[in-house]
């Protein structure tokens, strides 16, 4: 009877749809709990806008030329904020174990965390785009490039947040500190403030290693500015970076049960 019970369970392999539903449930739970936490709003929304205007203040440039960078910066900060806050927070309060008690694979779990970051990033990055188009006359030259930049960009960069949250620390403060240590220098080598083709040679070389560079590149193409890598390279690099960071995040989470 026991063997029958066990084999009944073992034979009932969960399908992709069920797995996706579990990931979505985790994402929705995170949306309810974390989106309106002050730390998320400060680091995910206020921080990038403040940095951007602090950098641009007093520079004699046309406002429309700033929008690819502003959208990319907002996307970068917002999509990398939710998971690095929620994962260490839940590990600290031990609610993360709730997710591990259930038959949820680490891939489904990491996917859920990434989706909650991604959706936050999507919403936040559309705001400066709309402001640019409605109030400053930004020209949407290629819609597909904009969509690719925003969707692929969020899908890729949100994994950076998940990856950073898998560092050893179980306190959100330490993870956010590390995150900002990574995010701040990345802003300067990704073409956010200065287009990549205007960077010195070493800057152009380093920009290949930042996934944010490809987001900026697609957004520049979408808003009618000269790009550097081209949409195919940028899209492929975002997919590659996204998958690699996701795989490393899951691999690092596997080490948590030692």
């Amino acid at each position: 009877m026991l063997e029958a019970a066990a084999s009944e369970v073992l034979l009932k392999k969960p399908g992709l749809v069920v797995g996706a539903r579990k990931s979505w449930a985790i994402a929705v739970k995170d949306m309810k709990i974390y989106y309106f936490k002050p730390a998320i709003l400060i680091f995910g929304a206020l921080f990038p806008v403040t940095i951007f205007f602090a950098f641009m203040m007093g520079r004699n440039v046309e406002a429309v030329t700033l929008f690819p960078g502003l959208i990319a910066l907002t996307l970068f900060f917002s999509t990398t904020t939710v998971a690095p806050f929620s994962i260490p927070w839940e590990r600290m309060t031990r609610t993360f174990e709730r997710l591990l008690f259930a038959p949820v694979s680490l891939t489904e779990l990491a996917l859920g965390k990434t989706i909650s970051s991604l959706v936050f990033g999507l919403v936040m990055s559309i705001v400066p785009l709309l402001i640019g188009v409605i109030f400053f006359g930004s020209d949407v030259a290629y819609v597909w490039a904009l969509v690719l930049g925003i969707v692929l960009g969020n899908a890729c960069i949100s994994n950076l947040g998940t990856l950073v949250s898998t560092v050893g620390s179980e306190t959100p403060q330490n993870v956010m500190l590390l995150l900002n240590l990574i995010r701040l220098p990345m802003m300067f080598i990704s073409g956010i403030f200065i287009p990549i083709n205007e960077l010195p040679t070493w800057g152009r070389v380093i920009s290949w290693f930042s996934p944010v560079s490809y987001v900026v590149d697609l957004l520049r193409r979408g808003l009618g500015f000269k790009d550097y890598f081209g949409p195919v390279t940028s899209s492929l690099m975002l997919v590659a970076f996204g998958l690699a960071m996701f795989a490393v995040s899951v691999w690092r989470m596997k080490g948590w049960n030692k």
Partner: protein, 323 residues
């Protein structure tokens, strides 16, 4: 009867060992729990109880040995195993920011339930655990006892066959503890197999069909509460309440009564430890007749689980220290 192989047992461990660096937290433990049994894991803090549960949930990897539930390996079949097992950790780790009801429906979603199914199961569980009026409250606003009930309800969402409870009444007041014990008994009578860790002797005594005593990572005895108490026969006692407080000389006389191996004050009474209560009683009355002390009350309580525990752990320490 207890299944003694992985295939027959509901919960099975063989040679289970866990090192944290050089610290041996669980030391080659083996046990087998049959379906419907309420099995207690009794031991002091740091004995290895929680680590054992964590190994069964694959939250911690064992260094050696095998652990299975219904024949499913904790590592190889971890997802399948988790679909038939529920766990209530020592800390009621409910999500404090969302309502009690949302905690339940979210848990349902983690087990692959659809929205309607998890919502109706949540209503059922809120009723079953007396949480109806608290369903709409954020879990963080609930009292410790209610949070505990919610945590148990969350562990029951998927109708598990096996439930691991880690110190279920730790930190709760008497009423809340009693309510949790009643819930455990009820679920057990409905066929749920329990693995319950506790350092509360009375709780183990009241609830468990069998108890494993664990100390410093090692199981030092496994038996029914009654048999464990009988095993500590020399820890029997005669408890006597006298008409007045004895003098120092009289106290010394009590210690010299036939068969008495120790005297302990227990409130207004004296507890005379003995392996032979009958002989001690006869000698006690002879002693009292010789003086002007009189008995107000006398009883011969058997050894408590605490006595058993102290005896077993002290024996184990003696062996460990080589004395």
């Amino acid at each position: 009867m207890t299944g003694d192989t992985a295939g027959e047992a509901a919960i099975y461990a063989r040679g289970l060992t866990k090192y944290f660096d050089s610290l041996l937290a669980v030391d080659h433990i083996s046990f087998s729990i049959e379906q419907g049994e309420l099995f207690g894991f009794l031991g002091p803090n740091g004995a290895g109880k929680t680590t054992t549960i964590r190994i069964f949930m694959n939250l911690t990897r064992s260094s050696e040995g095998t652990a299975t539930v219904y024949g499913m390996d904790t590592v190889r079949d971890t997802l399948a195993l988790k679909s038939v097992v529920g766990i209530v950790p020592e800390v009621s780790n409910v999500f404090p920011e969302i309502t009690a009801r949302s905690n339940l429906t979210f848990t349902g979603a983690l087990y692959g339930m659809g929205r309607r199914e998890s919502a109706s199961r949540a209503v059922e569980l809120l009723g079953m655990f007396g949480l109806e009026e608290h369903g709409g409250k954020k879990a963080g606003q609930l009292s410790l006892g209610l949070k505990r009930r919610l945590a148990i309800a969350m562990s029951m969402v998927h109708r598990p066959k096996v439930l691991f409870l880690d110190e279920p009444t730790s930190g709760l007041d008497v009423t809340a503890s009693r309510s949790i014990r009643e819930i455990v008994k009820r679920l057990n009578s409905e066929g749920v197999t329990f693995f319950l860790t506790t350092h509360n002797m009375e709780e183990a005594n009241q609830l468990c069909d069998r108890i494993a005593v664990i100390n410093r990572g090692k199981i030092i005895a496994v038996d029914t509460p009654g048999k464990l108490r009988r095993a500590a026969s020399e820890a029997q006692s005669v408890e006597v309440t006298l008409n007045r407080r004895p003098t120092a000389v009289e106290e010394a006389g009590l210690a010299g009564i036939d068969g008495v191996t120790g005297v302990a004050e227990a409130g207004e009474s004296y507890r005379l430890l003995t392996a032979d209560p009958e002989r001690t009683l006869r000698s006690l009355f002879r002693f009292l007749e010789a003086g002007d002390l009189a008995v107000s009350a006398v009883s011969t309580p058997g050894p408590t689980l605490e006595d058993v525990f102290v005896k077993l752990t002290s024996e184990e320490q003696d062996v460990g220290s080589g004395s």
